[in-house]
Every structure is written in C-alpha cells, then in structure tokens.
Symmetry: C2
DNA sequence: TTTTCTGCAAACGATTTGCATACAC
DNA sequence: GTGTATGCAAATCGTTTGCAGAAAA
C-alpha cells in the first residue's frame, strides 16, 4: 500500500527533542530506530522493544525503554495503541491529514490484529461535533470478531 | 432517551448461571443489582463497585467483586469497556440488535466520558466483512477531544 | 558545569491466585 | 454430600519512581 507514512524519522528526532528541552541520547535514537527500520513489526510493547534490544546486544534498561516510549509519544513521533491485552503498544505516528486513519480488527480467537484503512468517519465526526459541541481531535476504532482463518462458520 | 435496554435483569441471572453450572449467590446478585438499579451510574470499575458495596454496608471481598464482574461479562450480562485510565470498567450489556450501539466521547482535559448513539457503522462493517473476510461480532469506537466546556477555542 | 538521562532496585496499582472455610445445589 | 464460591493474604504483572552515577548541552 504505502512505504513510509511516518512524519518523523531519525533526522527530525534531535530537533523535536531540543525544541522542548530534551536531550538526544543513543538510547532514544536506538529505540526510535527500531520502529523506523522495522515498519513491518507493528504494535510493539515496552517489553517487546526491550527484548528486541537485548537480542541485538543492546543493553538498555527496561525503565529507560518505558521512558523513551512515553517521550516519543509525547512528541507525537509514536502513538500508543491498546488492544486490551494488558500492555501499552506503540506504532509510528502516521497522522498526516492526507493519510487515511488506520484501525484494527482484533480476532477474538487467534488474537491476530489486522489493520485496515478507513475514511468513512469524517461525516460521523462532523455530525457529533455539530450535535454535541464535542471537539474531536482523534478517534480509535476497533472491531472484534473472527478473522478469515478463525470464522465460526468454517 | 431510553430507560431499560439491558437484556438481562436479576430474574434471568439464576437461569443464565445454572445453564453453565454456576451457582446463584447473594454476592453475585447484589453486584448485578447495582448495575440494574442504578442505570445512571455508568462505567464502574471493580474498585467503584467495591466502594459502593461498602457504603451500603455490604461486606463483599474485592476478589469476589473481580470474579463476579468477570463472570457477568462472560455471561454477556455486563460488558467491559476501557477508557485507558488503567482499570477495567463495566456497563450493562445493551447488545440488542434493535438498540443502537453507543460509544464514547472522552474529554482529554476533564476526563469526562460522554455517551453517544450511532448506527453509521453498519455499512462499514459490511464493507470490511466483504473485503477482508473478517467476521465482526462487536465494535468499539472512541473519540478523543474536548467537550463543550473544555474546547480549546473557548 | 549544569541539567537532564540512565540503570538499578524498590514501589506501585490493578488484578489474579492459593488455600481453607462456607455455602448453594 | 459434593462441588463451587468466598474471603483473605500473598503473588503477579505491567508500569512508575527515587536515587546515585553518567552523559548531553
């Protein structure tokens, strides 16, 4: 579909950080690098990132991973997603207004998470804002059910 | 809007329980009663339920509350909802096909949770099922933003 | 040199679990 | 009676925090 929707790469990290008084560190760079260089690995938790680092002989503490993921989310470089599996997961922010939102189909049986793109919600957002005065800045849509391989009617 | 959409009341509890080999207990009855008799109190966490019970001179252990909420969800009497505030919350299931889904507007400033009803997603569900073969049984939609009182442009 | 950052270990809060007793059937 | 449920306390799991030393700016 598309290769590189993320707004922020490694180059922008230093700027984004110093803009807010934060410092560039090898740990932060390395953690962001995982997300940038492995776009196929989606939805990593702090523990996932930690394990990935250790497998690549990187000795970054778990607390630092948590702090970096928090920080990168605060900077808008990553976004937190939640699949109800008891831990926060992260993905590169693709919040480009020209890029469609993507959301998640969560299989109740095999726990697979499938992504889909949609832009049907614009009218709904418009309606809500008009009816309730609620100013929407983001939305999150999850569909629960059974994926192709797990369907109940198979 | 509507008074009593829940499919299951206290009367059905015993049947639902024994159907699956579970027993009716005063604790389970009392916990469900809170949800049925106080429809205005939405989105209660286990701790909320526990506090509510203690205020009403009921001595039910916290572990029992957790177990009962789990069980009532498993039976389809309650549904778990998650507002990302670090604890599971529950509400009466209103999964009647004739009743519109309701979803949540979460204010990022005052943390208020506003409910809204919608039935715009039927077509989207149809499209997804057709395109991806994913069989949808439930969906969850959250809009994040600023409520009428907290809007950035005020 | 000043401030922020890291890493460790301890603290934390929500939830779960083991176990002996109590209760529903 | 038999098997499930309860209540308590201890265990667990993801995450956060305090603090002393290390490293950016």
């Amino acid at each position: 579909m598309s290769e590189n929707h993320q707004l922020f790469g490694l180059k922008d990290l230093r700027a984004k950080l110093s803009e807010r008084g934060y410092k560039m560190t090898p740990q932060r760079k390395e953690i962001l690098k995982i997300f940038v260089e492995h776009p196929k690995i989606h939805h990593m938790s702090a523990e996932d990132v930690y394990d990935f680092l250790r497998k690549n002989d990187s000795e970054i503490g778990l607390a630092t991973v948590y702090r970096a993921l928090d920080l990168l989310s605060e900077l808008g470089i990553l976004v937190q997603v939640d699949f109800g599996d008891g831990c926060a997961r992260y993905e590169l922010n693709t919040a480009d207004p020209n890029v469609h939102h993507h959301h998640h189909l969560i299989c109740l049986k095999c726990k697979r998470v499938i992504e889909f793109e949609e832009d049907f919600l614009d009218y709904l957002e418009y309606t809500i804002e008009k009816q309730s005065g609620f100013q929407i800045v983001n939305h999150e849509v999850k569909f629960f059910g059974y994926c192709k391989d797990c369907r109940a009617d198979d």
